[in-house]
Amino acid sequence: MNIAQSVKLKLTLALLLFSGFHATGAHATPPAPGNVTLLNVSYDPTRELYQSENTSFASYWLKKTGQTVTINQSHGGSGKQARAVIDGLEADVVTLALAYDIDAIADSKLLDLNWQQRLPQNSTPYTSTVVFVVRKGNPKGIRNWDDLVKPGVSVITPNPKTSGGARWNYLAAWGYKQKQTGSAVQAKAFVKALFKNVPVLDTGARGSTLTFTQRGIGDVLITWENEAHLIRKEFGEDKFDIIAPPVSILAEPPVAVIDKNVGKHGTRKVAEAYLTFLYSPEAQEIIARNSYRPRNAAILKKYAASFPNIRLFTLGELFGTWRQAQKAHFSDGGTFDQITAP
């Protein structure tokens, strides 16, 4: 018997002993029935979405395998959440605001570097975009990105250094101008003028929402489309209007299984099923109802009324990969540092 075989035998024996101690009378054949727990580490505005998705997936999984799955959620700024996972928060899956944050997790060897090729459509089961929320009746007459740089217009957006959503906002504004003029120099000047109108930079998207809605600061809030709908639902449709600009960015918040953690927990199968489930018609309906744009064309069509027709450009079209965009715009010395320097 060589070493590998001997190790295997010992492991099997250990496992047998282990299961004997802990699950007396349980069937040894997989899939092991009983309970399984997943931890989904997500970003700020997805609380409501994953509440519904988790219930739906749990009953799907129970029906399919007879196993009860409990999914715990953790929410926070996308970058902070990624850091928590890097620093040892044992997430089975991450569902973050932008690919760069999952790239950072991959850099620390917790999952494969080509994670984004594993699931369809860049591992993004839903998309969103960036829209404006204004006060009822749109007193400042905000219609398009150009209206945001007008003197006397106060704009609320979070800090792109700390917030994933804010990076989409920033790139949306930049991309709008670059597509319009074909010039990155003009785009930079435009974003600079826009940030001159920003009186406060909250650290996350929810912080900006509260600044705008609760503190009454600002004429327009730049935010996720789903967050905009949530604001109207939570704080009153009689108080705020959503303005869809004619052009905006296609925001792709990706999802991934954290290889190392599912290996350790023995949850790979259910974790992968969970993420694949997000592409199913049932899950896509929930996505649409929570004002995220579903990937499923038929369901997108069904909910077309809630998704105004915005010309959406992708990140790849103008900025390359997230690593490149991060380096050019948000790293120290990037364009954001340049435009905010006095």
Partner: protein, 277 residues
Amino acid sequence: MPPFSTNRKHILPGFGLSMGYTVFYLSAIVIVPLATIVIGTFRMDPQAFIGTVTAPRVLASCRLSLTTALLAALCDSVFGFLAAWTLVRYRFPGRKILDALVDIPFALPTAVAGICFATLYSPVGWIGQLLAAKGIQLINTPTGIVIALIFIGFPFVVRTLQPVLSELEPEIEESARSLGATRWQTFRRVLFPHLFPSLLTGATLSFARGIGEYGSVIFIAGNLPYKTEIAPLMIMSKLDQFDYDGASAVAFMLLIASFTMLLMLNAVQRWQEKASH
């Protein structure tokens, strides 16, 4: 007294045990965590370190943190002194409640305080509304930061002054008066020299606390680069960019600042003690 008094017989035994305990505790909760910052900083290339800590944005944030903390500590010294005086020297209904209220900033999560201030002083808040009518805005300005820091630092001044004040017998003032000192002279020549060391301690503690304060300030500061971005936020923002080294570098500078201050405080206290003996 010799520096190590282990040889002398103590009434209570257990020096070894309690000393071991103290060293272990200090190591576990202070020295080791701080050492990681220092190690993280020394891992850095010296040029990268200098580049990070002398970046204009980092310098601006440190300047802001230092000045707002200093202003807040000065305000706390004046009003904390008055509060401590009132609480010690006078007996009035509700004194105990007021006394307990002083500790609230210690107990309240600072984020809660920050949110309360931001809500109160926002243009639609109770106080902010009145100020906005006069064209004054406090929230999202350095003044907002000072307000939050005053709140955070207040109990430090009051609580360090109170015991000294209550030891100071009213008879001292009376004898000063009967020896012909005016009220001002009594205060300046008799009371103040006694109180100054603890006032200084309180102010320094509140200053040191203010430099590092994050939770309450973040909600009221506005966080604009170069304008209202405090040094602790620079650390957070570097962490959010996965720049652990840069974050340690800024943290290291703040650590040095706090440490220097506490050392200076110790020196001043020792000097004061010598002068009074």
